[in-house]
């Protein structure tokens, strides 16, 4: 779980030919998936593959496994009647943008909280031994359990023009999942400068805060980037799941449930919001990759392992 600098080498800023090769592999991977899907659908038994009572491969009916081109085609047809009379792709796009926004808020809050905790733990040894066990324990509480709690507490918050809304509960839950890798990764990163560097700053008579910003934060970047990537993935998952458990409308989580209920009559449509969820994940990952490129100066020390 703990992010290490070595991981980031997988996503090291690619250059020139390497970029093309990577894109090629990416497209190849997707094509391979499509081919395997269609091959199994064409050749596999309609009832699926069973061992005893256990289904180990799904049925190949159109209901369970629609054709890839049907799924894609469905994106460009209308989603329903009345309010839903827009192409499915547009509905999915709107829901994705909404969920991405909520996830982004959750990510930012999670990152701020995680960094603050890491700084606190770096500064005070006692804080580390007092807070760290709680941080780890916090992640063992199931999401389903905290969702109603957050919603109930949130609904009691009201002052002036501000009133708590459901999307804020979802963002809070996303941040709850996002802060964990950040706090752990950042703590390791902040503690990563060599003794020689710390003593050098001491010999310059530089205080803790200035050392934090000129030495510890730059040195923590190789640890922070994989943590931020994990946090982004957690924020997206947390948002989608929390949308369902809190019952927030407008996002991709709710859409997955709604479309799944229509699966028997319209199996290809079920997949549309799933593509949306994948797209959100890709955007989030792309954002972190961009961050990595912007911060590449601070990643020179990374081991190529």
């Amino acid at each position: 779980m703990t992010p290490t600098p070595a991981r980031t080498s997988n996503s090291r800023a690619p250059r020139g030919n390497a970029t093309l090769t990577r894109i090629g592999f990416g497209i190849g991977g997707i094509l391979l998936l499509v081919v395997v899907w269609e091959l199994y659908k064409a050749l596999g038994p309609a009832t699926g593959v069973m061992i005893g009572d256990l289904t180990i491969l799904p049925r190949t009916t159109d209901l369970a496994m629609p054709h890839v081109w049907d799924m894609i085609g469905r994106l460009f047809e209308d989603g329903g009647t009345g309010r839903n009379a827009v192409p499915v792709w547009l509905a999915v796009l709107r829901a994705s943008v909404f969920s991405l926004g909520v996830a982004a808020v959750g990510w930012v809050v999670g990152v701020v909280v995680g960094l603050a905790l890491a700084v606190l733990m770096q500064r005070f040894r006692t804080a580390e031994s007092a807070v760290l066990p709680w941080i780890i324990l916090s992640q063992t509480v199931p999401l389903i359990a905290i969702a109603p709690l957050v919603r109930r507490w949130g609904s009691q918050i009201e002052f002036g023009d501000f009133s708590w809304e459901n999307w804020m509960s979802v963002a809070v839950i996303a941040s709850y999942l996002a802060f964990f890798p950040v706090s752990i990764g950042a703590l390791r990163g902040l503690n990563s400068p060599d003794t020689i560097h710390v003593e050098l700053f001491r010999s310059y008579g530089i205080g803790w805060w200035k050392t934090l910003f000129t030495l510890r934060f730059p040195a923590s970047v190789p640890y922070l980037l994989p943590a931020l990537r994990l946090a982004a993935a957690n924020a997206v998952i947390g948002t989608v799941v929390a949308e369902v458990s809190i019952g927030l409308r407008g996002g991709i989580g709710r859409m997955i449930i709604e479309y799944a209920q229509q699966a028997s009559g319209d199996p290809a449509k079920t997949w549309a919001p799933i593509f949306g969820a994948v797209a959100i994940g890709l955007v989030a990952a792309g954002f972190i990759a961009l961050l990595g490129v912007l911060l590449r100066r601070y990643r020179r020390g990374e081991s190529p392992a």
Binding site: I196, H197, E199, L200, R202, S203, Y204, P218, R300, G301
Partner: protein
């Protein structure tokens, strides 16, 4: 850098400066210092015992001794990176702590310790930047220092693009950035090959002559200590004590060139330090003029 642009007063030859030193405030004064480390389970290590040492301004003093005799510990005490268990240390008449805060010394360790995300120039400018020196002044100073250590062509490179010896030279340039009157160096050439090492030694002698800085220099190499120093402090381990102090009179810094290494007096001093290190008590070494 040419000799003409040296800003300090003319390099003081070591010998005539001796009389002046008595009235001057010493660069480093170590009085009755013990250092006891308390480890786990109350186990204690006496790293230093009854250390008495005075370093005059502009003087080059080497600390030499077997591994674990407390050389690094003594240097770290002077730098106020650690505090003595008993005794006092003053640097230019101030407490070690005040001297650190006032930036009275520059320090270089065995590893270069450059920040990997900063260019060579930015690494050299680090102390200046941290102490709020303006960017124009920083630029001028780093250019000057790069020329001094012969790395002007590598100003915009990152540390990982340099060899170990070049990194070490950057670290030395960085330690000189604020023109300290005292340089503390802990085996700065330890990681270098013999050829680079000798060249660096010659450069260091020249730099010290140009800047007039006092140096406390930790080393494992006898010839290095003899070549560089005005005085060599020989230490013995467990507990770490000063066994003897040998005055090396090989002429002023500016007179020392490569040919010195072939010199008769040089070899004489080398063998004296060796005898002291190996614990035999050579008769009448102390105070004997070697010329």
């Amino acid at each position: 850098m040419s000799e003409a642009s040296v800003s300090s007063p003319e390099p003081q030859p070591a010998a005539p400066a001796a009389e002046v030193r008595d009235v001057e405030v010493p660069a480093v004064e170590v009085r009755g210092v013990d250092k006891i480390f308390t480890g786990k389970k109350k186990a204690t290590v006496t790293a230093l015992e009854e250390i008495e040492l005075t370093v005059a301004p502009g003087e080059f003093v080497s600390l030499i001794g077997p591994s674990g005799c407390g050389k690094s510990t003594l240097l770290r005490l002077i730098a106020d990176l650690d505090t003595p268990s008993t005794g006092t240390i003053t640097v230019f008449g101030k407490t070690a702590r005040q001297a650190r805060i006032d930036q009275e010394y520059g320090i270089a360790f065995q590893q270069a310790g450059l920040l990997p995300w900063r260019t060579v120039t930015a690494n050299i400018e680090l102390p200046l930047e941290l102490h709020g020196v303006g960017s124009a002044a920083r630029k001028a100073r780093s250019a000057e220092l790069l020329a001094l250590v012969g790395l002007s062509d590598f100003a915009d490179n990152y540390p990982d693009q340099l060899s170990g010896g070049m990194q070490q030279r950057v670290a030395i340039a960085r330690s000189l950035a604020e023109s300290p009157r005292l340089l503390l160096m802990d085996e700065p050439f330890g990681a270098l090959d013999e050829m680079t090492r000798e060249r660096m030694q010659t450069e260091l002698v020249r730099i010290c002559a140009e800047t007039g800085a006092a140096v406390v220099f930790v080393t494992h190499s006898i010839p290095e200590a003899v070549y560089l120093s005005n005085r060599v402090v020989v230490m013995s381990p467990r507990p770490g004590r000063i066994r003897d102090i040998l005055t090396v009179s090989l002429g002023s810094a500016s007179e020392r060139g490569e040919q010195l290494r072939e010199n008769e007096a040089f070899f004489e001093n080398v063998s004296k330090v060796r005898e002291l290190l190996h614990g035999e008590a050579p008769v009448g070494i102390r105070g004997v003029e070697t010329r």
